[in-house]
Amino acid sequence: MRRVLQLFLLLVLAWIVVEPLAIVGVESVRRDGAWTLDAVRAFAVEPNEWRAAWNSTWLAALSVITGTMIGVPLALVTRLAGFPGRRVVSALLALPAVLPPLVGVVAFLFLYGESGVFSRGIMALTGSEVAPWRFEGGGAVLLIHATTMYVYPYLLVRAALATFDTSLIEAATALGAGRVRTMRTIVLPLLRPAIGNGALLIALTSLASFSAPYVFGGGFRVLPTQLITTRLNGDVSVAMVETLVLVALALFCLGAATRLGGPGVRGAGKGLAPAPAASRKGWRRSLTAVGVAAITVWLLLPHLALLGVSFVAPGAWTRTALPTAWTGGNYVALIAEPERWRPFGTSLWMAGLAAAAAAVLALLVAVAARDPRHRLSRGLEVALGLPWAVPGTVYAIALATMFSVTQPAAGRFILIGTLWLLPLAYLVRALPIIGRAVVAAIRALDPAYDEAAAALGAGRWRTFRTITLPLLMPALAGATALGFVTGLGDFMTSVILYTYDTRPVSLEILGAIRQGELGIAAAYGVVITLLSTAAFVLAERSRGAA
């Protein structure tokens, strides 16, 4: 029975997760029905291609370095140092984690862009008619990456510190180690898995990053944006090669991280969170508070700009440094005008359907793969996690390729141009988010619960329905909420796969900006951010409850 379920799920995952990537691999070395290395050659001789690959690589490396250097110290300070306002600041610093990438990018546009707050402020001060800078190119993208992706090491290191055994720090102190030595020889080495995972997340996110280079790149091309251009130019097989290079880079990071990070040191994860040690010197507390507050404000300024712009009346922010009129009308327009509401409705149903389907699939996989030692369990797990490591742009193209012909025997149908391709893409993207959480949750359940139910005469189905499912519900609900909001705010797959009927919010935001309707664009962004925050809080709650 379990074996049948496992095989069935393996088949389903092979179909929607593995096959699209395999087709990309094959098409990169085929043209007109024959095997050829033309595309590989075309890629290899084109300096632009190499430049994009190189740009992606150094951007990822520098994003890792800068993001880690911001995130890890912030996590240490907000956990270990006592200062006024610590809780509020800690929560605010996690905010970028819930920001859909495109919304974040738009927020930066409002703050640092040529017609953003800063630029206009300087123009007003100097009386100049020309913008003082162009916020464009690799530096701009790196700034966005560093100031949004720091959340990964920040959150992971904070979580690791929450279960850090305080007596280890005390033991070091009792043995004569000062603060610096304790930090260097005990705390940081034990946090290595958390820092390593944070760095890996930054590397993968940076490699997959599409919105920032798309909006701010200018002439600065990275692989995901290059991919789109190549495809629009009709060079399908070269695009496939680019796709594979991108996948290879992502897998390389994954491998490197696994090797460097090693398995987390066990034994460090029990005990109580260290209580924040309030410095005995008053001025030091105040200095810490002011320093952290300043960094927090700097990191959150784009979000504030987004919020501000969402209240700007149409046409009230053209020449002046600050808008001349404020209104709540942008939000009213989102609901009252059917044309503005429609993308919302579209995004809601697509993301909702995708998340629900992914949740069902993830739950089935969790049940089937509960025993981690089973060989098929590992296969299911790998397939489930694949879309997590592979950039979204790649999946979009892979799905578009797979579902552009009819070959029922290979499971290929024409979905391109229909309503269904985008929800399917969202589903694939949501699958690892929900799946990994639910698999972890089911494995954390004490098998004795099942055995107790069985001993009391409950059959398998009753045990699942009355014991397993209720116990999994918090994790499932939280993860599904997260899966839902990734679809809701998605830009990188949508921009490739959308049709007139499935035009989602993210594209509407970009459209609004092109039309100069900044207030409307910002209002969309704020609403999506609020929905994402709610989902994030729900997920955190349920993690706490589990």
């Binding site: 007596s167 005390e170 033991a171 009792a174 034994g267 029990k270």
Partner: protein
Amino acid sequence: MSTVALDGVRKQFGDVAVVRDFSLDVADGEIVALLGPSGSGKTTLLRLIAGFEQVDGGRIVLGGDDVTSRPPVARRCGMVFQHYALFPHLDVAGNVGYGLSGERLDRAAMATRIAEVLELVDLSGYERRPVTALSGGQQQRVALARALAPRPRVLLLDEPLSNLDPTLRERTRRELRELVRRIGITTILVTHEQEEAFDIADRIALLHQGRLEQVGTPEELYSMPATQFVAGFIGRSVTLPGEVIRRVGDSLEVAAAGITWRATGAAEAGQAVRLAIRPEALRADPSGTIAGAVVRRRFAGASWFLTVRLDDGAEVEVAATSASPAVGDRITLALAGPGAHAFAHDAPP
């Protein structure tokens, strides 16, 4: 000269007074056990000595230095944590050598010292083992070696045996006692197990709700309990209401359950007292004058403990060595020896 002197130490967490006006002197090379029920403030007291917590009042003197406001680094206490707190990413030598870095030893001297302490705890040759691969007993000894390596002024042990399984506990206890005696290091041991304290310590400080109830040798605590709590916590006893008849030399004559007892204690004639009676204060004796019925029997290896309901309704306990009477049998008892302790009513319960 005392190595550790606590003088009126107080500690509050929020509104709760966890350590109240605690004073204790520990002599050089002495082993003192802080004994008390769970939550009585033992760990807190140890952490105050080590410097992980700050006192709210009083002074802490270590080896003649007032360290009350000094940080842990400056106190030179060797601490063994309840769960050992071995650094999981360092091997045995890395753990044991961690506290030696302040001494500017060269590599060879460091290795020698590590080998020396490992030899002490019988773990020679374990230098390169990862600590996570050791058994519970071995981990405990590495923790001990790590604490001893920098030659601390005082060794602080927080329930060092509580993480071991019972069969291992007794052997480890013996080894621990021999080790600290051999090194002659001043030691403060926290435990909630009377047997552990009796076995290892020269003196016992009994804590109750953050207060020092009594300090003394195990014999003193047993035979001359200062408070009703001490009498109840150390050894077995039953408590009856009584009244002091008169004072005879060092002891009291107390009437309780229709019997006149010879008891320790400080009270005036005519005063109402609580009388704690140990099983050995009575014996089963066919010619005895105290009559009652056996209501419970408990087998305890070498002897039986009988609970006897006296004719006026009071229940006492007595040990019987020979073939024991059955529940329901009537027997007679006689006063045997010391083992009754009187406490005035206004003393803390």
